[in-house]
């Protein structure tokens, strides 16, 4: 399976590195010329290929959105149609209570299957997954299955929390945001039991 990671900031290279380590074919793209992120890819995600975003997305089976929230509005939804898209973004500055950001993402990316995960763990804690529980939420059960398998191969324990509306549970100010939890602790904290 081919993975395209969009974003070469704090988060993107970490996810790309984990995906390479898990044996995926990975490309990474920022908003501009892949040459601009060639060094970043070489040192922070060796094995991931820097590409133009449109090319990376075009060939990908799964796209990870790891761009700043305020940049999402300028993202062209066209190439993402038909793709499974992981929304790892958070609203910033954070709202006082969950606002359903992934539902907004899904609305804009009509034709894509948006799955929310990887947003509620700090980038520097992603490096050692150690079976930490990550919530996975999406409206399309098949896409949720694809993403759950993906993050499990990365080393996390995927906890299905329901559709995107239920995925508000994973947002800042929600009960599991930023917490290192096992599956059972996650289910308890999130009221899933």
């Amino acid at each position: 399976m081919r993975i395209a990671v969009l974003g070469a900031g704090h988060v993107g290279p970490v996810i790309a590195r984990l995906a390479v380590a898990a044996g995926y074919d990975v490309s990474i793209a920022a908003s501009g010329d892949p040459q601009d992120i060639a060094l970043i890819a070489e040192f922070l995600a060796p094995g991931a290929e820097p590409r133009w975003a449109a090319d990376a997305v075009g060939d990908a089976d799964l796209v990870v959105l790891a761009i700043p929230w305020h940049r999402f509005t300028s993202l062209d939804p066209g190439p993402l149609a038909g793709k499974v898209v992981v929304d790892a973004m958070n609203e910033w500055p954070p709202a006082d209570s969950p606002t359903g950001t992934s539902e907004h993402v899904a609305e804009k990316l009509s034709g894509a299957q948006v799955v929310k995960t990887l947003n509620h763990i700090a980038y520097h804690e992603m490096e050692e997954p150690r079976g930490r529980a990550l919530g996975v939420a999406g409206d399309d059960p098949a896409a949720v299955g694809v993403v759950a398998t993906f993050i499990e191969r990365l080393g996390f324990d995927a906890v299905r929390v329901g559709d995107l509306a239920a995925g508000r549970l994973l947002e800042p100010a929600g009960p599991v945001f930023g917490l290192a939890l096992t599956r059972s602790e996650f289910e308890q904290a999130g009221g899933l039991l």
Binding site: L39, H70, E127, G178
Partner: protein, 339 residues
Amino acid sequence: MITFGLDTFGDVTNDRDGHPLSHAQTIRNLVEEGVLAEQVGVDFFGIGEHHTPDMPLSAADVVLAAIAARTSRIHLGSAVTVLSSDDPVRVFQRYSTLNAVSDGRAEVILGRGSSIDSFPLFGYDLADYEDLFEEKTNLFAELLKGGPVTWQGKTRSSLHEQDVVPHTEPFPAWIGVGGSPQSVVRAAAYGFSLMLAIIGGHPSRFAPFSKLYLQALQRFGRDPLPIGVHSPGHVAATDEQAREEFWPHYRELITRLGKTRGFAVPTEESYAHEVGPHGALFVGSPETVAQKIAATLRVLQASRFDLKYGMGGLSHSSLMTTIELYGTQVVPRVRELMD
């Protein structure tokens, strides 16, 4: 040569009864802390700009100038200046002035701002977060060259052959990086030294950033520049005492910050990990902290270590103890270990 600094965010400290001191008294105490840092042989004293009631040090350069007047050797600088929400011309003027009054002891560490309180305060839009830092870093690099400046951008008015005063000797300028690889490359591109702010996890996870920086310097045809590390810590006579003093205040702060920044709420277990050899908290006896600093400098190819001391709610006297132990015991021990 390896140099050692102390950084503070100017947290409000508590009195003996656990009541917070006034902002004015906190600032006066900070001057005493800077003076003590010089007396115990520390090379650098830095103040990180913040704009909140619990961290009221919004005008670091004024405090640094007061410390400059009472010291003669220690370097003084920001840790960091939130350049994104400041005017690079004004920052350059303030630190050039500090450089003059301190007889060439100014340094500046520029950051994008992980705490973003200064954006609404000064009328900046977070949507411009990346552009502001990119443009202002570019302008600051031009200013550091020392001649008349010609510059054009979107985030402030252009300059044409502008002579920016005062003219002083060049001073060291760093970019503080919390985890953004673009900032690492940007530092290399513009010829800034790299200060890695490591506040969680194993310091070795930043080793690829050091390699990226050194490679990028080469790519841009620049000579090698120093890499520094900034990490939080607390030193006391014993490991146990240091850990016990620091823990409640650390837990309170990280729990609060975690709500907006995605940090995990600290548990006793996670704290034990962070203060241990694989974590980013330099908390313990002088020997424990020295061993950890030496290991960190080696793995990151760094030649500067800044201990970010202090934490809201600690007392001024316990901070003075940390400063004294850092200067008199930790620093000499690290030098010995690195020989």
